[in-house]
C-alpha cells in the first residue's frame, strides 16, 4: 500500500492578492443531507477580478458549495458575506440581486424560446408598455448584451433549440452577467460549473477569452472543472477540495497538475478495511469480454476481459462514460459499436431482462429509484429477479418465496422483523443487503456493482465488503464502480481508468501492490 500523506503540500494564500478588494467570502460552511456530511467547514475568499479554480474529486463538495453560494441550497451552518455584508440568499433570484450568477451544469435555457426571450426571461416588464412587449427594444438590448460578452455574432431572434451547446453556453453567460449587472451596481461573482464539458477545443478558447474580459472588468469568476490543464491555464488561484473540506488554496503559477492531484486524493484506508487478505488471484476462465465497445457520443474503444473470481474496478469522474459502460454491459443501453462475449459466446442484449437470462445483473446506483420497490415486502423484493428459478409449472408459491427470503435474511444478517416487512421500513444498509440478496438469488455470476456502498453507514459498508469478497471467492466475477476512489482501488484486483469516454489506463491491484490514488487520479482528470 502506498499511503499518501498530503497535508504537507498545502500552500497558504499569498500576499499580492490580498491587496485587492474582497467580493465574497464563506466561512466554516457545513451542510448535512440526512446522514451525509457533504461540507465540513468549507471556506472560500474571492477578490475582485480574480478567476478562481475549484477542483476536487466527485463528492468532494464543490457542487454543494456552489449551490449554497447561488442560494439553491441552504447551509446547515456557517456564514457568507458579499461585498462585506452578510449574505444569505434564499433562492437563485436573491443571489442574482446581490450580484451572484451561475451557469448551471444542466442548461437552464428554455429551448422553445428565442435567445432574446431567454436573456430577459422574467424581466419582460422592462420592455413592456401596458403589458405589451416591445420586441424591437428587447432584441436591440439583447444584441448589445450579447456583444458585451463577445458573442455579438449570435442572432437574438434565433430559437435556442437551433443553436449548439457552445452558443447556448455563451447565452447563459450573457444572461447571468446581464441579470447580475442589472441587479447591483457593484462587481459581480459568476459561477461556472463544468462549463467546458460540452465544448470543443475552439469553443473552450472562446469561453476563456470571455472569462478574461469579465475578470478584467473587475468581476470575479469561479471555474469548476475536472480538467486540470484548463484550470491551470485560466485561473489565478485554485482551491482544492477533498471529502467536504478545503485542503488549501494556491496561486496558479505555483501549482502543477501533480501537486493538485496529491492534494485532492482522499485518505487511503488500511488494507484490512477492504479485507485485502481475502483477495484471491483471478481464475483462468474468462467470464466477460468486451471488444472495442462504444456508445455513440459517450464512450468508445473500451476493451477488457473479466475473469472468474476477479473484481474489476472502473474509475473515472462523472461524465467519463463509466456509468453508461455499466448500463451497456447489463443490457440497459445498446452499444453502437463493438462486441460483448459471455463465457466465449457473443451476446447482444436487448434489455436488462435479457442480460439477466445471460446471468449478468447490475446493482444500481440509485437504490431507492432503481434498486428496490419500497412498497413491497422483503421477500417480494428478493424474489423479483429469481421468479423463473422459483417457479414450478409457471406458478410461484408463497412458500418458496418466503423460504428464499428467510435464507437470505439469515445469510446476510438483514435486520428485520420478518420477510413480510416492507422495504421502506429498513435502514439504508439493510435495504442494500436486500438488493444484494435479490442479485445473488438470481444466480447471476457476473455482477455490476454501481456504488454499492453509497449512503450506508460504516458498519454496513464493512458487511458489504465481506459480501463482495465472499461472492468472488464463490467464483463470481464483479465489475465495481466504487463510491470513493480508495474503495475502488482497495477492493479491486484490477483497475481501469476512464476519461472523456476513453480508457486512459489500467492498473493491476494485487494485495501487496495497490496503485496509488495519485497515479489513478492523474489519468482521470
Amino acid at each position: 500500500m502506498s499511503g499518501q500523506t498530503v497535508g504537507a503540500n498545502c500552500v497558504r494564500p499569498n500576499t499580492i492578492q490580498n491587496e485587492r478588494k474582497l467580493i465574497f467570502s464563506a466561512k466554516d460552511i457545513h451542510k448535512h443531507y440526512g446522514a451525509t456530511h457533504a461540507l465540513k467547514g468549507a471556506g472560500i475568499d474571492i477578490r475582485e477580478g480574480e478567476i478562481i479554480g475549484l477542483v476536487g474529486e466527485n463528492g468532494a463538495g464543490k457542487s454543494t458549495l456552489l449551490k449554497i453560494i447561488i442560494g439553491a441550497e441552504e447551509p446547515s451552518s456557517g456564514s457568507l458575506t458579499m461585498h462585506g455584508k452578510l449574505y444569505s440568499p434564499r433562492n437563485p433570484m436573491d443571489a442574482n440581486r446581490a450580484g451572484v450568477g451561475m451557469v448551471f451544469q444542466e442548461q437552464s435555457l428554455i429551448v422553445s424560446l428565442t435567445v432574446g426571450q431567454n436573456l430577459f426571461f422574467g424581466h419582460e416588464r422592462e420592455f413592456s408598455k401596458f403589458r405589451v412587449i416591445n420586441w424591437k427594444k428587447l432584441y436591440k438590448e439583447a444584441a448589445s448584451a450579447l456583444a458585451d460578452v463577445g458573442a455579438g455574432g449570435i442572432n437574438p431572434r434565433k430559437k435556442v433549440s437551433d443553436l449548439n451547446f457552445a452558443t447556448r453556453q455563451m447565452i447563459e453567460i450573457a444572461k447571468v452577467i446581464n441579470v447580475t449587472k442589472g441587479a447591483s451596481g457593484e462587481k459581480c461573482l459568476i459561477l461556472l460549473d463544468e462549463p467546458t464539458s460540452v465544448l470543443s477545443e475552439h469553443e473552450t478558447r472562446n469561453l476563456f477569452e470571455q472569462m478574461k474580459k469579465i475578470a478584467a472588468k473587475g468581476h470575479a469568476v469561479v471555474f469548476v472543472s475536472h480538467r486540470l490543464d484548463e484550470v491551470l491555464e485560466i485561473t489565478d488561484r485554485v482551491y482544492v477540495y477533498k471529502d467536504g473540506e478545503g485542503v488549501g488554496d494556491l496561486l496558479t503559477p505555483e501549482a502543477t497538475e501533480s501537486k493538485l492531484y496529491e492534494m485532492m486524493v482522499g485518505r487511503t484506508a488500511s488494507g484490512e478495511y477492504y479485507q485485502v487478505n481475502r483477495q484471491r488471484e483471478a481464475q483462468e476462465e474468462i467470464m466477460l469480454e468486451v471488444k472495442d465497445l462504444g456508445l455513440s457520443g459517450v464512450f468508445k474503444h473500451v476493451s477488457f476481459q473479466l475473469r472468474r473470481g476477479e473484481i474489476l474496478g472502473v474509475c473515472g469522474v462523472v461524465g467519463s462514460g463509466k456509468e453508461e459502460l455499466c448500463e451497456v454491459i447489463c443490457g440497459d443501453e445498446k452499444p453502437t459499436s463493438g462486441e460483448m462475449y459471455i463465457k466465449g459466446k457473443k451476446v447482444v442484449f436487448s434489455s436488462p431482462a435479457h442480460g439477466l437470462r445471460e446471468k449478468v445483473i447490475m446493482i444500481p446506483k440509485e437504490r431507492l429509484a432503481q434498486g428496490i420497490i419500497r412498497t413491497l415486502s422483503i421477500e417480494d423484493n428478493i424474489a423479483i429477479s429469481s421468479l423463473k428459478i422459483l417457479s414450478r409449472n409457471k406458478f410461484v408459491t408463497v412458500k418458496s418465496v418466503r423460504k428464499q427470503a428467510l435464507e437470505w435474511i439469515s445469510r446476510l444478517r438483514i435486520k428485520t422483523r420478518g420477510p413480510r416487512e416492507l422495504l421502506m421500513r429498513l435502514s439504508g444498509g439493510n435495504q442494500q443487503k436486500v438488493v444484494f440478496s435479490r442479485a445473488l438469488a438470481s444466480k447471476c455470476d457476473i455482477l455490476v456493482l454501481n456504488h454499492p456502498t453509497r449512503g450506508v453507514d460504516v458498519g454496513a459498508k464493512e458487511e458489504i465488503y465481506t459480501l463482495i469478497r465472499g461472492m468472488v471467492t464463490e467464483g463470481k466475477a464483479v465489475i465495481l464502480l466504487g463510491d470513493t476512489l480508495d474503495e475502488c482501488i482497495g477492493m479491486s484486483s484490477r483497475v481501469i481508468v476512464m476519461k472523456d469516454g476513453l480508457v486512459t489506463g489500467e492498473f493491476a491491484a494485487p494485495p501487496d501492490g495497490k496503485p496509488g490514488q495519485v497515479d489513478v487520479v492523474s489519468l482521470m482528470m
Partner: protein, 340 residues
C-alpha cells in the same frame, strides 16, 4: 496523448452530431402538419373535384371550423403547459344552457340580453379558474380535476333549465347565425377574433413566454421568481374563457341552450386538432398557429370524408387513429421510462 485527444474530440463530435440529428427531426416535425394539410387537400380535390375544391365548400369548412377552433385554442395553452383539460364538454354545454336561461327564452321570464351572454361566458371563466386553483393548490392532476368538472358543469347546466332545454327567443341572438360579413359567417368572425387575441397573448405578453417556459421546465421559473402556480391558474382561466365563448356561440347557432347537444363530441376532436397541429402533449412546444393548422386538418378531413359519403361510424374510428398517430410522432423517443 495526441491520439487520445483526437479520439476524445470525436466523442464530442459524435455527441454534437446526435444533437444535430435530433434538431433536424424536430424541424421536420415542425413542418409536418402543414404538409399533411396540403397533401390531404390535394388528395380530396383529386378524388372529389369540384365538390371539395370550391368556394362554397371552403365557406362550409370555415363555418364548421368556428367552434372546434375556439375549443382547441383554449386547450392549446393547457397542453402547452403539459396539463390537460377534460372539462370541455361540460363547460361548453353549461355556457350554452346558462345563455339559454338568461336571455329571452321559452322557459322563464329572463331577458338580460348582452349581459346574459357575458354572464354565461363568465361562468365558464370561473370554472376554468377553479379547475386551475384546485389543480395547483390541492396538487390534484389536472385531468382528474377537469374530468370531475365536466360532470359538475353538465349537472349545473341541466339543473338550470330543469331538464327541458330553453329555446332562445332574443331577437338579436336569433338573427346572428344568419348574419355574415365579407362572405364569412358572423360566428366564424368571433372565433377569428378570439384567435387573434390568443396569438397576441402568446406572442406579445410575458405571460405567453411563461406558458412555454412552464411546459419546458418549471424549475427555471422558480429560479427567476415567476410563480408557476399563477401561470397555470391563468392558463386554465383562459381556457375557460375560450370554452365559454364556444358554448355561447354553440347555443346561439342551435337556437337552444341544450347542454347535451352543444356540449357533445367536442373534446376528442379538439385534443386531436391540438396534437395533430404539432403541440406536444409533454408541453413547451407548438402553439396557437399549430392549432389552427390542426383544426384545419381535422375539419378538412371530416368534410372530405362526408363528401365521399364515408360511414360516420368509420369516421369516429379514424379520429382515434389520427390522434394516436400524431402522438406517436410527437412523443419524445429514447426516454427510458414509459410516461404515465
Amino acid at each position: 496523448m495526441a491520439r487520445e485527444a483526437r479520439a476524445s474530440m470525436s466523442i464530442t463530435e459524435e455527441f454534437a452530431a446526435k444533437i444535430r440529428k435530433d434538431n433536424q427531426k424536430d424541424k421536420i416535425i415542425r413542418f409536418a402538419p402543414i404538409i399533411v394539410l396540403a397533401v390531404m387537400s390535394l388528395v380530396f380535390s383529386a378524388i372529389n373535384g369540384r365538390n371539395f375544391a370550391s368556394v362554397s365548400n371552403f365557406t362550409t369548412i370555415l363555418n364548421q371550423l368556428a367552434i372546434p377552433l375556439l375549443v382547441a385554442l383554449g386547450l392549446t395553452f393547457v397542453i402547452m403547459i403539459g396539463s390537460i383539460d377534460l372539462s370541455i364538454n361540460g363547460t361548453v354545454g353549461m355556457s350554452a344552457a346558462f345563455l339559454g336561461v338568461l336571455v329571452m327564452n321559452s322557459r322563464n321570464g329572463m331577458d338580460l340580453g348582452l349581459a346574459g351572454v357575458l354572464l354565461a361566458v363568465l361562468a365558464s371563466v370561473a370554472v376554468g379558474m377553479l379547475i386551475g386553483l384546485i389543480h395547483v393548490h390541492l396538487k390534484i392532476p389536472s385531468f382528474m380535476v377537469s374530468f370531475a368538472f365536466m360532470f359538475i358543469c353538465r349537472g349545473l347546466g341541466l339543473l338550470s333549465y330543469q331538464g327541458r332545454p330553453p329555446r332562445i327567443l332574443d331577437p338579436v341572438l336569433t338573427e346572428i347565425p344568419r348574419m355574415s360579413f365579407l362572405g364569412m359567417p358572423a360566428i366564424t368572425w368571433v372565433a377569428l377574433s378570439v384567435l387573434l387575441l390568443c396569438i397576441f397573448i402568446q406572442e406579445y405578453t410575458a405571460f405567453g413566454r411563461y406558458i412555454y417556459a412552464v411546459g419546458t421546465d418549471e424549475t427555471i421559473l422558480h429560479s427567476v421568481g415567476v410563480s408557476v402556480k399563477r401561470v397555470k391558474v391563468m392558463v386554465f382561466t383562459l381556457a375557460g374563457f375560450c370554452f365559454g365563448i364556444a358554448g355561447v356561440l354553440g347555443g346561439i347557432r342551435l337556437g337552444q341552450g341544450d347542454v347535451t347537444v352543444v356540449g357533445t363530441g367536442l373534446m376528442f376532436p379538439a385534443q386531436a386538432a391540438v396534437v395533430v397541429g404539432g403541440t406536444a402533449l409533454s408541453g413547451g412546444k407548438g402553439g396557437v398557429i399549430n392549432t389552427v393548422v390542426g383544426v384545419f386538418i381535422m375539419t378538412v378531413l371530416f368534410n372530405g370524408l362526408v363528401i365521399m359519403r364515408v360511414n360516420p361510424y368509420i369516421r369516429t374510428g379514424v379520429e382515434g387513429l389520427i390522434i394516436l398517430a400524431a402522438v406517436t410522432l410527437t412523443v419524445a423517443r429514447g426516454a427510458k421510462v414509459i410516461s404515465k
